[in-house]
Symmetry: C2
Subunit: 416 residues, 2 copies
């Protein structure tokens, strides 16, 4: 314990975000991943667990891409509005020279035909068809395998499935798909001053907000939050809840009790729960500097600040990469990012990776990022008034007005 | 029927996307919205039905923003590392002149104090505190109401609730929230060639993909898809399913059977189901030109193309605004948009609003949009290989390489 206490003392040494994440990730193995089979329509937003390879060509046969008449393109040479060409309509299985057969979008191309003339470019007169255009072979035909060929990779393992992936998998005939089981994230809030929303507030009490935010942030990423309630600032209460979290969860997140103050017990308590214990305490970032990261019995624990904004920034920097890893993704899933012009200067501290909340709006092609001012990291409305983060690197002392910045969005930009 | 058949004939008149949407939206009323009460943690991604106004200041009292000692700022004038100041530690309820009282982050500021000195800037010596910095009134204090004041709008009706909104609502003491009930969208696919994924394919059959895509696109927006299966290209089968959709749903989406071909029955069938019937048939867009929009008995029906890409583009242009409206949002919910440099030229037809699929990647602050080439609107892999749309307006014949474009994203851009 001595070692850690020294390290905690006033955060004399801060670790960079990247290094903290690297050290933490090296301190545990994720082991064999749990995989579940789900119906295609239940698979939205889930993460594919195995590569899906096309078992058939798609389309399975050459087919009409439009409504019209299948024919031999060579028969249409020279045809025009002024010099219509006449073909014999057939209902046979095959299209011979100077013949045409009616087809609807999606129908197989009859044997002998190699193009489809659109309805707009013909006139049917009894069993004769007048054609007003010249076609090239393959025109208006969807070729066998043009969408995807048998044996080709359709969707890669680690992909978060959107409606279009699911459409492709349906087109390949799948009705079920193997996805990563939801990682179980146990969440414990700590703090004597905290009480549950919905209950009556006593003097000096405040409603607990972090579990609501962190659990829904987990849900968004397809992790399953396990609510382990509010612990008092007492070693035994904290230890019991974190231990239970280690038992029922794949990872634990705590909030509160991470600073250097006398009531900030969580890192000490976690360090006593098992090996290797605390890996990092104090990160060179703002907000969320007092974040600690630990591993106990091969399970990761993110010890986040109790300040709501610091807690969600800590989640962003550490829990989000963790969940990507637990889901079997190759790298941390990116937030939607965009490029915008900063409207006002921002001052940050050298040596601190700083998460600046901004509100992005756009007018046509022009995107603007307006910093949302905030006095403290406890000001939760800065998160509801903003729609993204700009991350100022450690080697900058701020950003200048008019600078082009990359914004990581948590809500779409609105048009002005 | 005569009127409509004429209009259908070869789509002699195409309506612009904006005009089509306007005409359609004017042809029905949404009536009283259904509202449901849900637990805060079940409210992620749902749309708030009523303004939420803060019933209390947040914070409810001035409180310490850091761990340290509460004191009177005026007592610290001139204090520095070289000229420490000495205060008397107190455990009383009030801080008098030349006194200080220990506080932890979140604690109420004791009466008489107006600032908090951080632990790093003091040394406690028995019942005396050495202070090494000068403070201004309010320093390290979170002011009562600084986050949000009693009576202020916390979250506006029509907002899609993200984890941070939910955190704010929890902080205000709410455990439940009123959200828009999920609009029920009945979905019918039509086509003799279609069969269910999971079943054995007969000759000339293909697996149906559109219901999977459209139902999950609905789910993403918090609408409830109702699967009404696959109709044969027969008037009676189509009429029965659409009628059932009108009965059980707030709106109906069909796919297939929308062109000018002989098997394209859906607009005719829908037009026979009731007044006003078909509002628009044929839209000046690519893909999805054969889209039709109808209203029957005050319920909207979107009649989309059977080609998968045309179907999802039709959804984007018409069903997405519809669902925003049914959810009670002020305007159509924007997709995440960003600004990027087009890497290759794109050719489009004058007079057609064209949805070009692109793949956006970024290198630092530079975002590039690479058009994803596709032969037909049936090529579903163009949707899985891309992550956004560029919309080329009707008055352009394409876009040039190097041009700056706005991309509407359906998947985050990846870093190169």
């Amino acid at each position: 314990m001595g070692k850690v206490l020294v390290r905690l003392k006033g955060f004399q040494k801060l670790t960079s975000v990247e290094e903290a994440l690297r050290l933490w990730f090296h301190a545990f193995q994720t082991g064999e991943r749990r995989i579940v089979n789900v119906l295609l329509r239940e698979a939205l937003n889930r993460v594919l667990a195995e590569d899906v390879v096309a078992q058939e060509d798609l389309p399975r046969f050459d087919r009409a891409a439009v409504d019209g008449y299948a024919l031999k393109a060579e028969d249409t040479v020279g045809a025009s509005q002024f010099k219509p060409l006449r073909l014999q309509l057939t209902v046979g299985l095959e299209v011979s020279s100077k013949q045409a057969k009616q087809v609807w979008t999606g129908n197989p191309i009859p044997k002998g035909a190699d193009a489809v003339v659109m309805l707009e470019n013909v006139k049917a007169l009894g069993d004769t068809l007048e054609v007003y255009v010249q076609l090239v072979p393959g025109e208006n035909v969807s070729r066998k395998g043009e969408d995807i060929k048998k044996g080709e990779l359709a969707v890669k393992a680690g992909t978060r499935l959107n409606p279009y992936h699911l459409g492709l998998l349906a087109g390949l005939g799948l009705s079920e798909v193997k996805v990563a089981a939801k990682p179980r994230i146990a969440i414990v809030a700590t703090g004597n001053e905290l009480t549950e929303a919905g209950s009556v507030l006593l003097e000096n009490q405040v409603f607990e907000t972090n579990r609501t935010m962190l659990s829904t942030l987990c849900s968004e990423l397809d992790a399953e939050p396990l609510d382990l309630g509010i612990a008092k600032d007492e070693a035994r209460d904290i230890a019991e809840r974190v231990s239970l979290g280690l038992k029922v969860g794949d990872a634990v997140i705590t909030t509160g009790g991470t600073s250097v103050g006398g009531l900030d017990l969580v890192p000490e308590v976690v360090n006593n729960l098992g090996k290797p214990g605390i890996i990092v305490h104090g990160v060179a970032m703002r907000p969320a500097m007092p974040t600690a990261l630990a591993v106990v019995e091969n399970k990761p624990i993110a010890i986040l600040s109790g300040n709501p904004v610091a807690a969600v920034v800590g989640f962003e920097a550490f829990a989000r990469p963790l969940i990507s890893r637990l889901l079997g993704m190759e790298k941390t899933e990116p937030r939607p990012a965009l490029k915008a012009t900063l409207t006002r200067k921002v001052v940050t501290a050298l040596g601190r990776k700083t998460y600046v909340r901004v509100k992005v709006t756009h007018e046509g092609n022009e995107f603007y990022a307006e910093p949302v001012s905030a006095r403290g990291s406890g000001t939760i409305t800065t998160m509801t008034r903003s729609n993204g983060f700009v991350i100022v690197p450690e080697n900058r002392e701020g950003l200048v007005a008019g600078e082009t910045v990359t914004v990581y969005m948590f809500r779409p930009a609105e048009e002005k």
